[in-house]
C-alpha cells in the first residue's frame, strides 16, 4: 500500500465510508445505552447486542446482521477487546462487545481516513480497487473460476488418457499372460518329451540293450509312458528343476484376478476416449501440490459419472502439477503395475510341498481351523493343509467357529475364515473370536479383494487375506508367514531338493539356474512383445498424436486466441488483459514450450510403465525409445 498521508487527497475518497458511518453512529447520544464510546474514548462498546442489531444497524448500515458488522470491522482492522485480559473483569457486562482500532478515537475525527480496509489485493492501490466496480470483480472472479474449470477439465482429459493407456496395458498384460500360460504348457510338453528320451536313454544303457533305441517313433509316448524312473534312478536334475519351476508358476494369483477384473471393467465402461481428444495441457505451473490430486483419480469408474471428479481440490492453488512426483507415485495405478513383481515373488516361494523330505514343521504340527460353508472348498482346503502336515479342523459357519474357540481358545494356531457364510459371517465371527483369542492369526478367505473390503477385514481383527479361489501355494505362503516360529528351519526349507523355494519371510538367494532363470524370463518376454504391441496401440491414443496439439484448447469454453500463448503460461493467457491483481500462477515460464512439456510428461509416464516387469535401462530403451519418436515433434 503506498503511503498517502495527505488528508486533502483523501477528501473524496470513500474508502473509509464505513468508518465514517461508525463514527457518526457513535456521535448520537440517544444510543448511549446500546452502543457508545468507552470511557477513554479509544474504543467503542456494543452493550446490547440484540437492540443494536435490530434498530441501529439497519439505520446506519442498511442491514441487520451483527456478524457482517463484525466482519466489516475486522476488515478495517478493528479488534475485539478481551476484558479478562485487560483488567480481569468486564466493565460493560457479559454480552458486551468492545472493539478497538489504534486510530479510531472519540477525539480524533480527523484521523478517520487513516483507517482503511486491510488490503485484500496487496499489489493494488486502494484507489484502484475502489474504482473497481463490483461487476468487474465478478468478471475477474469468474475468469478465475473458468480458468480453474478449464484446468480441471484438462486434468480430466489427462486422466482419461492415462486411464486409456492403462486399459491398453492391462489388456496387453492379460493377453500376454494367456500367451505365457500357453508357453508354459508347451514347455511342459517338451519336458515330458525330453524326460521320456532321457529315461529311454538310461534304460537302454542300464540294460545294455542298445538295439532298443529306435529314436522318436510316432508311438513313442504310448510305449514309454510306463517306463518311468524308479526310485534309484533319478531323472536329470535340469529336467526336474524345469518342471518344478513350471509347477511353481501359479497363474491364479491375486494379480491375475485383479487384472481380469480391470479388463472386464474396462470393457464394460466404454471408452472415455471420445472426450479425450485433446493433448496434454500445459497447466503444470503451481508449486503447491495437493495430495488428493492423485488419490482421486478413480481407476475403474467411469470418469464422466464419477462424482469424485467434482470434488477436485480447487483451494488456494488454482493450478496443480499432476505429474509432480508426489502424485505420480500416489496414483492407484501402481497397484496393477506392482503386481507382476508379487507374482514373480510368489512363484519363487511356492514349491510343490510334497517334494520336500518330511514335514516343514519343527516339533508340533500346526492346528488349523478352516471355516468354510462350501463343502467342496472345505474339502480342498483341508486337503491342501493336511498335505503340508497340518492338523485341520473345519467349521461350516462363523457360529461353529466361535463355538470351537469358546470351547478351547488355545487349540488352534491359525484360522482360515471365509467371509460370506450362513448363520454368522466371517467378519463378525472374527470380532467374537477376538474376545477369547486376541492373538491367533485369522486369515480372511474371500473373492472380495477390493481395498475397502480388505480394510474392513483388518479393522475387525483379521490379520491377512487369502484370495479365493485359494491355491495350495497361497495357503502355504500364509502358513509360512504367520507360523514362521513353528517351521523346522525357515532357511533350510527347500534347500534339500535345490528347488527355488525359500522361507517366505526371507527369500534367500535362490539357486541361480532355476529361480533366477525364471524370474528373468517372463518379464523379458513381456517387455519384448509389448514393445511392439504397445507402440501400435499408443498411436491410436490421442496423447501422442501431433495433429491434436493445435487443438488443445478446443474442448474448453474459454476463448483462446492462439496456442502460442502457451509459452507465457496458460494462466497468463487467460487473464492477459486483466488487472494486475490477478496474478495466479507465476510459474509459467518454467516450461516455456509446449512440446517440451509433453516430452517430460511422457518420459515420466514411461518410467511408471517400466515398473511392469523390468527396470533395466536397456529394456526401457527398447520399449519406449521408438514410441517417443511418434509423439514428440
Amino acid at each position: 500500500m503506498p503511503p498517502d498521508n495527505d488528508p486533502a487527497a483523501q477528501a473524496g475518497n470513500n474508502s473509509s465510508d464505513f468508518v465514517r458511518k461508525l463514527y457518526k453512529m457513535l456521535e448520537d447520544p440517544s444510543y448511549n445505552s446500546v452502543v457508545r464510546w468507552s470511557a477513554d474514548g479509544d474504543s467503542f462498546v456494543v452493550l446490547e447486542n440484540e437492540k443494536f442489531t435490530k434498530t441501529i444497524l439497519p439505520k446506519h448500515f442498511k442491514h441487520s446482521n451483527f456478524a457482517s458488522f463484525v466482519r466489516q470491522l475486522n476488515k478495517y482492522d478493528f479488534h475485539k477487546v478481551r476484558h479478562n485480559e485487560e483488567s480481569g473483569e468486564t466493565p460493560y457486562g457479559r454480552d458486551a462487545w468492545e472493539f478497538r482500532h489504534p486510530e479510531f478515537r472519540a477525539d480524533r475525527k480527523d484521523n478517520l481516513d487513516n483507517i482503511r480496509r486491510k488490503a485484500p489485493a496487496p499489489r493494488k492501490p486502494a484507489q484502484a480497487e475502489d474504482a473497481f466496480p463490483a461487476t468487474q470483480q465478478i468478471v475477474v472472479l469468474s475468469e478465475s473460476l473458468a480458468a480453474t474449470q478449464h484446468q480441471i477439465q484438462a486434468l480430466q482429459e489427462q486422466y482419461f488418457e492415462l486411464a486409456q493407456t492403462n486399459k491398453v496395458l492391462v489388456n496387453e498384460v492379460v493377453s500376454l499372460q494367456k500367451m505365457v500360460r500357453a508357453q508354459s504348457q508347451v514347455s511342459s510338453e517338451l519336458i515330458t518329451h525330453l524326460n521320456n528320451i532321457e529315461d529311454r536313454r538310461r534304460n537302454s544303457r542300464h540294460s545294455a540293450h542298445s538295439s532298443h533305441s529306435s529314436h522318436s517313433g510316432p508311438s513313442y509316448h504310448a510305449t514309454n509312458l510306463g517306463l518311468l524312473p524308479d526310485g534309484a534312478d533319478e531323472p536329470a536334475a535340469e529336467l526336474r528343476r524345469a518342471r518344478e519351476i513350471l509347477n511353481g508358476v501359479s497363474p491364479d494369483s491375486q494379480a491375475d484376478r485383479e487384472l481380469e477384473r480391470l479388463s472386464v471393467a474396462y470393457h464394460q465402461n466404454g471408452s472415455p476416449s471420445e472426450s479425450a481428444s485433446s493433448i496434454m495441457f500445459p497447466q503444470q505451473q503451481q508449486q503447491q501440490p495437493q495430495q488428493q490430486g492423485g488419490g482421486q483419480m478413480a481407476l475403474v469408474h467411469d470418469p464422466l459419472n464419477d462424482p469424485r471428479h467434482m470434488v477436485y481440490p480447487v483451494g488456494q492453488t488454482t493450478g496443480i502439477d499432476p505429474f509432480h512426483s508426489d502424485h505420480i507415485h500416489n496414483i492407484p495405478y501402481s497397484r496393477p503395475l506392482s503386481n507382476p513383481n508379487v507374482m514373480a515373488e510368489a512363484s519363487q516361494i511356492s514349491p510343490p510341498a510334497k517334494d520336500q523330505a518330511g514335514s516343514i514343521w519343527g516339533g508340533k504340527k500346526p492346528q488349523i481351523l478352516l471355516v468354510e460353508d462350501d463343502k467342496t472348498c472345505a474339502r480342498i482346503g483341508s486337503k491342501f493343509l493336511s498335505n503340508v502336515d497340518c492338523v485341520v479342523d473345519t467349521a461350516r459357519n462363523g457360529l461353529e467357529a466361535v463355538d470351537k474357540l469358546n470351547h478351547d481358545s488355545e487349540r488352534f494356531d491359525l484360522i482360515f475364515m471365509d467371509i460370506i457364510m450362513p448363520q454368522l459371517d466371517g467378519v463378525s465371527a472374527t470380532a467374537m473370536i477376538r474376545m477369547v483369542a486376541p492373538r491367533i492369526p485369522i486369515i480372511a478367505m474371500t473373492s472380495n479383494i477390493r481395498q475397502e473390503d480388505i480394510q474392513t477385514y483388518f479393522q475387525f481383527g483379521m490379520n491377512d487375506v487369502l484370495a479365493k479361489p485359494f491355491t495350495r501355494d497361497g495357503m502355504v505362503r500364509i502358513l509360512k508367514k504367520h507360523l514362521s516360529y513353528m517351521l523346522k528351519d525357515p532357511q533350510q526349507q527347500g534347500m534339500s531338493s535345490d528347488d527355488p523355494n525359500q522361507g517366505v519371510g526371507a527369500p534367500g538367494p535362490g539357486p541361480p539356474a532355476s529361480s533366477q532363470g525364471y524370474a528373468d524370463a517372463p518379464p523379458g518376454m513381456t517387455i519384448a512383445t509389448m514393445g511392439a504391441g504397445a507402440q501400435v496401440k499408443f498411436e491410436q491414443t490421442p496423447i501422442q498424436s501431433p495433429t491434436t496439439t493445435a487443438s488443445w484448447h478446443s474442448p474448453g469454453q474459454m476463448q483462446q486466441t492462439s496456442p502460442n500463448l502457451d509459452s507465457g503460461g496458460y494462466m497468463s493467457a487467460q487473464i492477459g488483459s486483466g488487472s494486475a491483481g490477478m496474478v495466479l500462477t507465476p510459474g509459467g515460464s518454467q516450461r516455456p514450450q509446449f512440446t517440451n512439456q509433453v516430452a517430460p510428461t511422457m518420459n515420466r509416464m514411461g518410467d511408471g510403465m517400466v515398473g511392469l516387469g523390468d527396470d533395466r535401462p536397456e529394456k526401457r530403451q527398447r520399449l519406449y525409445g521408438p514410441s517417443q519418436g511418434a509423439f514428440v515433434q
Binding site: L228, T376, K383, P469
Partner: protein, 148 residues
C-alpha cells in the same frame, strides 16, 4: 514322499485327452489332482460330489427364479462360484458370477441394474447356460476319471 511327477504327467495327458477346453483351468485342476495319493482317491469323489452339489443348487435356483427371489439367487450364485472356482471349472464359475451379480441388482461390471425383470432375465439365461456347461463338463470329467 517319493517324487511323483509321473502321475502328473499321466494326468496332463489325460486332461489333454479329455479335451477340457475352456471348461477347466488345468493349472487349478492340476493342483487338486496333485493331492491324490492313490489313483484319484481324492479328486474323483470331490468332483462327483461337486456335481451333486451343483444339481442341488440348480434346483434351488430354479425355485428362486420362479419366486423371483433375487437375494437367494445371488447367494446361490456366490455359493456355487466358490467351489467351481476352487476346482478350476472356469465356465461354471463365470456363469455363477453373473447370477450372483444380477441377484444383487448389479451388472457384471458392478454398476447398478435396478430393473428386476432385466436381472431375472439375465439370470435365467445364465442358469440355462450353466446347466448346459455343467452337463458337458460332467461328460468330460467322466471320461477323464474313467480312463483310470
Amino acid at each position: 514322499m517319493a517324487y511323483t511327477y509321473d502321475r502328473d504327467d499321466e494326468d496332463t495327458l489325460k486332461m489333454a485327452a479329455a479335451d477340457f477346453g475352456d471348461h477347466v483351468d488345468t493349472a487349478t485342476f492340476s493342483q487338486i489332482l496333485e493331492m491324490d495319493e492313490d489313483s484319484h482317491d481324492f479328486s474323483m469323489p470331490l468332483v462327483l460330489n461337486f456335481f451333486e452339489q451343483a444339481e442341488e443348487t440348480f434346483e434351488k435356483m430354479d425355485l428362486a427364479v420362479a419366486s423371483k427371489d433375487l437375494p437367494e439367487l445371488s447367494r446361490l450364485g456366490h455359493f456355487l462360484k466358490g467351489s467351481s472356482a476352487t476346482l478350476g471349472f472356469t465356465k461354471i464359475k463365470d456363469s455363477c458370477q453373473i447370477i450372483q451379480q444380477y441377484g444383487s441388482n448389479l451388472n457384471v461390471d458392478g454398476s447398478a441394474e435396478p430393473d428386476e425383470a432385466v436381472c431375472l432375465k439375465k439370470i435365467t439365461a445364465a442358469l440355462e447356460e450353466v446347466k448346459v456347461d455343467m452337463e458337458a463338463l460332467e461328460k468330460k470329467m467322466k471320461k477323464f476319471f474313467e480312463s483310470d
